[in-house]
Assembly symmetry: C2
Homo-oligomer: 102 residues x 2
């Protein structure tokens, strides 16, 4: 169960939550079965924009994007843009392709 | 509408479809609104495993993973693993974290 991946949840304004992950070492695919990202319902941020941030493989992001599917909108932080790109939105508040600065 | 992104659909066995994208130049976030990936219903591969492959930003993958949400399962190709990692599955046939060789 110890997957050497740490998640940190940070509020960025009233309606934005940043989920930042840090890998202590390289993650292997089967570890996706045991990771435990902060639950959006339990932690009451399902009604917010979730920004994913961290250095890791694209498939880890893929897993997280599916995991956070129930939230209002999901964005992926891109350091080159100094902001997060909305990739999925269930709300008129956020549009796919929008860059959210944090 | 011309976003300089090309998608190629390849069959890999009976139950696997590889969606490979090629960017002619760097994509900008707002272009996510105009890209047109192969539709899984129209192209009759909603009942298959979809493997995403290509060099591009993580948020493009984020968009595609949401786009292909209706299919049986989604995997992300990782050249370092010489295979694709299942990130989302709605079938017992594929398990999250499984590496599918193609």
């Amino acid at each position: 169960m110890n997957t050497e991946i740490k998640f940190e949840t940070k509020k960025a304004g009233e309606n934005i939550v940043v989920i930042e992950f840090v890998l202590a070492r390289e993650i292997s695919p089967e570890e996706l079965r045991n990771i435990n990202p902060p639950d959006p319902i339990e932690n009451k941020f399902a009604d917010k924009l979730v920004i994913l941030s961290g250095r890791g493989p694209i498939w880890l992001y893929g897993f997280l994007i599916h995991f956070y599917h129930p939230v209002k909108a999901i964005a992926v932080f891109d350091p080159r843009l100094d902001g997060a790109v909305v990739v999925e939105s269930h709300s008129k508040e956020y549009e796919v392709g929008q860059v959210v600065k944090i």
